[in-house]
């Protein structure tokens, strides 16, 4: 599943960051590694970008950037 398909309040585990080159490395350096937990905090009022929480900090990504991140084990926060 793509990270961009998650709804607000859902949690998932990163499988793989797709795409090429520097952007991909940048995402990895920011902590989007395989096995990392990501939580969708909210979407911006205009539906783009997304605010995520990972490794204890908040980061925002555009929806089409989040679409390059494959996730699994999607679950609703309890």
């Amino acid at each position: 599943m793509k990270l961009s398909e998650l709804k607000q309040g859902q949690r998932a585990t990163v499988v793989r960051v797709g795409g090429y080159g520097p952007f991909r490395i940048r995402l990895l350096e920011m902590g989007f590694l395989q096995g990392t937990e990501v939580y969708v905090e909210k979407y911006a009022p205009l539906k783009d970008p997304i605010e995520l929480i990972l490794k204890g900090y908040h980061v925002s990504l555009r929806v089409d950037e989040a679409a390059r991140i494959q996730v699994e084990n999607v679950r609703d926060e309890v």
Binding site: P22, I25, R26, K42, D48, Y57, S60, E65
Partner: protein, 729 residues
């Protein structure tokens, strides 16, 4: 004891509190400039401690040391080439894992490092404990705790800096990132290969070079092949072979695997040094964001903040503006009285004091505006603004962060263009800079008020608003056009941290505000000075012009005439006559001033340009006013005052000038075309100077002048001729 000097580089993630630590260390003794050749801000500060002269260089905030962004390249090159005695890495303790990524990369470089765990108090609040001794032991690096915003730990940090810098011993490198069997083998083989191939030692740590080559780092590759090293090609070839082997083995780029290993190494450390002692407490920052970036409330609140910023800037700013205005007026007058009449006095009073005064008057606005911006930045709200507005800015292919500079443009384009420094991508910056002058700045408002007030009566407000809207629409169109032509390129990825909200420190805010205002004053002062003198020269020369009448003798005759009358009457009549006489003299002098300007170089220039301005509904007086508006757009109003011969010192509210304009043959349509022209054409001199400075090139400054003027003419032409064609007047 002879003085010794130490150079320290401050490294760290954005939002790690780096600038607070920098301010604590150096106080206000800072120097701000640009890194050579790039438009990244460089800050440097000095202090003395224990008989040492310390130079602290604030490196750009980065998440990593790959050659991904210009900031990273600048930071890395400084450490590699300038070889500071010590690198101090500021680590946000509340965000240990990600901050340690940069830390591990710094340790791989051949340099002494100290880690500073900043904002450890926040971590404690969250019920987490960090074992600094353990961290120090695991990484072989001294660790100091600081709380930047309470100025705690600064003294201990200084002590550690000096003792580490003094120590001659090589720091042990036992604990390093282990990249796994296969990559380690490649690193060792490649290091060995490099060592054999190069007689003279490479200037950098061997293992580091090998790692970077395996990561396909373009800058290191360039250096290896240059480095005066005949074997460069062979080394690069060997590195490529190793990369190929690894890629085949992992079915993945080696640099990805290596990033993974670094984080693995970090995870191990974090596990050992972090201890959760109590249940996590409430996250205040997150709760604030439930409101400030709320789906429904987020945008209205944002609009309110911006509105408040403008109110503060322009309402509160009016008072000191008036003081400065009267101060400049007084200075001009008293200087005028001291100096003997003549060319020199005119130059000083009209050229220098008048010109520079017209810029100095904006200082209060600029100070307040920058204070608000600093407040947004230091609290962390700026990132939220970008988060909220990214979708809108994305329409013209810009980053959400571009929104704030665009908005500031409504105040004054010069500081707004300086505010583009927060943008990471060079192309984004240039694009934001180029379209910024289309945001109608406050200096253009007096022109609109005069013209709309004269020709649109009760609808003046709507007319002015539509001009502002025209600017915004043009900015969107031009932005798209530029983005799809010569500024093409990938839109910068958005990946942006939303740091926790922090209470700003007054000291930090003031330093922030003053630094930028200082740049404005210093640089702009000089350019404005020259520009004002040039315009003064063009409008006061040639001195000997053929006037239609002998004004001096007419004034004398007039005075004599009234003098005789005044002597003959008594009481109230004297006063009345004196007033009449003064009015007559003023009218004559205004006539003379008009003729002077008409016959000056700028007048001739305006007249020769009249054919160009004709199709957009302006006569020669309009074109002269536009020419003088290059110095500062509000000057258009006072030039018109002179040219329509209603006496000097006219402002936009002057009834006499309005009357004169109405009689001059201008129509609402030509006035509107003129307003549009004033909106778009050449940014003022100060703005052009800032564009030149911020883009580091005359090319962009010239381009900005040319494109805006052509666009202005074209738009005014469409308005004027189009309006005429559909029967408007």
């Amino acid at each position: 004891m002879p003085k010794k000097s130490i150079t320290i580089a401050l490294a760290g993630n954005p939002n790690s509190g780096k600038s607070t630590v920098f301010n604590n260390l150096t106080g206000t003794r800072q120097k701000i400039g640009n890194w050579p050749g790039v438009t990244v801000e460089k800050k440097e500060g000095h202090l003395k401690a224990n008989g040492y002269d310390l130079t602290v260089v604030d490196l750009p905030g980065t998440y990593s040391l790959t050659a991904y962004s210009i900031e990273e390249i600048v930071a890395r090159n400084f450490i590699l080439d300038e070889k500071p005695d010590l690198v101090v890495d500021i680590i946000d303790a509340s965000n240990l894992e990600r901050n340690l990524y940069l830390a591990t990369q710094l340790r791989e470089l051949d340099t002494k490092v100290i880690f500073v765990l900043n904002m450890a108090d926040l971590v404690m609040d969250r019920g987490v404990k960090i074992n600094a001794d353990k961290l120090s032991e695991l990484l072989d690096v001294p660790v100091v705790f600081t709380v930047g915003n309470r100025n705690k730990g600064t003294r201990e940090l200084l002590k550690t800096i000096i003792s580490v810098a003094e120590a001659e011993i090589e720091l042990p490198r036992t604990r390093r990132v282990y990249y796994g069997k296969d990559i380690e083998k490649a690193i060792i083989e490649l290091s060995q290969f490099i060592k054999e191939k190069t007689d003279t030692k490479l200037p950098y740590h061997l293992r580091w070079v090998a790692i970077k080559l395996l990561e396909n780092d373009k800058i290191v590759k360039e250096r290896v092949s240059q480095a005066g090293n005949p074997q460069g090609e062979a080394i690069l070839h060997e590195a490529e072979l190793q990369r190929l082997r690894l890629r085949e083995f992992f079915d993945e780029e080696p640099e990805i695997i290596m990033t993974d290993h670094r984080y693995g190494f970090i995870a191990g450390i974090v596990k050992e040094v972090l201890k959760t002692v109590s249940e996590r407490r409430v996250d205040v920052s997150r709760q604030i964001d439930q409101v400030l970036t709320n789906r429904l409330l987020g945008l209205p609140i944002f609009v309110f903040f911006i509105w408040a910023m403008f109110q503060l800037t322009f309402s509160l700013g009016t008072y000191p503006m008036n003081w400065i205005d009267s101060g400049v007026g007084w200075l001009g007058q008293s200087t005028g009285q001291i100096l003997p009449e003549g060319l020199f006095r005119d130059l000083i009073v009209d050229g220098v004091i008048g010109g520079v005064g017209s810029v100095a008057i904006f200082l209060p606005n600029i100070l307040i505006l920058f204070f608000c911006i600093a407040l947004f930045e230091d609290t962390g709200y700026m990132a939220r603004a970008a988060f909220l507005m990214d979708k809108v800015m994305h329409l013209i292919g810009l980053h959400g962060k571009s929104f704030i500079p665009m908005l500031m443009g409504f105040g004054c384009n010069a500081p707004a263009i300086m505010a583009t420094r927060t943008l990471e991508s060079e192309k984004d910056r240039i694009l934001t800079i180029l379209i910024n002058p289309l945001m109608s700045c406050s200096a253009r408002l007096p022109v609109y008020i005069l013209l709309a007030g004269t020709f649109f009566g009760a609808k003046a407000g709507n007319a002015i608003f539509s001009i502002y809207a025209l600017g915004v629409v043009l900015a969107l169109l031009v932005g798209r056009l530029f983005r799809s032509t010569f500024l093409r390129g990938k839109v910068a990825p958005f990946v942006m941290e939303l740091p926790p909200y922090r209470a700003p420190m007054l000291k930090g805010l003031l330093i922030h505000m003053w630094d930028r205002s200082k740049i404005f004053l210093k640089k702009m002062g000089g350019v404005i000075l020259i520009g004002s003198v040039v315009v003064w020269f063009l409008s006061s020369f040639p001195r000997e012009v053929q006037l239609s009448k002998d004004y001096e003798s007419e004034v004398a005759a007039l005075s004599a005439h009234y003098g005789a009358h005044i002597a003959a009457v008594q009481g109230d009549r004297i006063e009345k006559l004196v007033r009449e006489r003064d009015q007559a003299v003023t009218a004559l002098e205004a006539q003379k001033a008009k003729e002077r300007v008409e016959n000056s170089y700028i007048g001739h220039l305006g007249k020769s340009l009249a054919p160009i301005f004709g199709p957009i509904g302006m006569d020669w007086r309009g074109s002269v006013a536009m020419l003088t508006g290059f110095v500062a757009k509000e000057i258009v109003v006072s030039t018109m005052g002179v040219l329509y011969a209603v006496g000097a010192e006219e402002d936009e509210k002057s009834e006499a000038l309005k009357l004169a304009l109405k009689k001059s043959g201008m129509t609402p349509l030509s006035a509107y075309a003129m307003m549009a022209f004033v909106l778009i054409y050449v940014p003022c001199l100060a703005t052009v100077a800032v564009i030149r400075r911020e883009t580091n090139s005359w090319k962009w400054a010239a381009f900005s002048i040319i494109y805006s003027t052509i666009l202005a003419w074209f738009v005014a032409f469409v308005i004027y001729q189009g309006g005429k064609a559909i029967g408007l007047v």
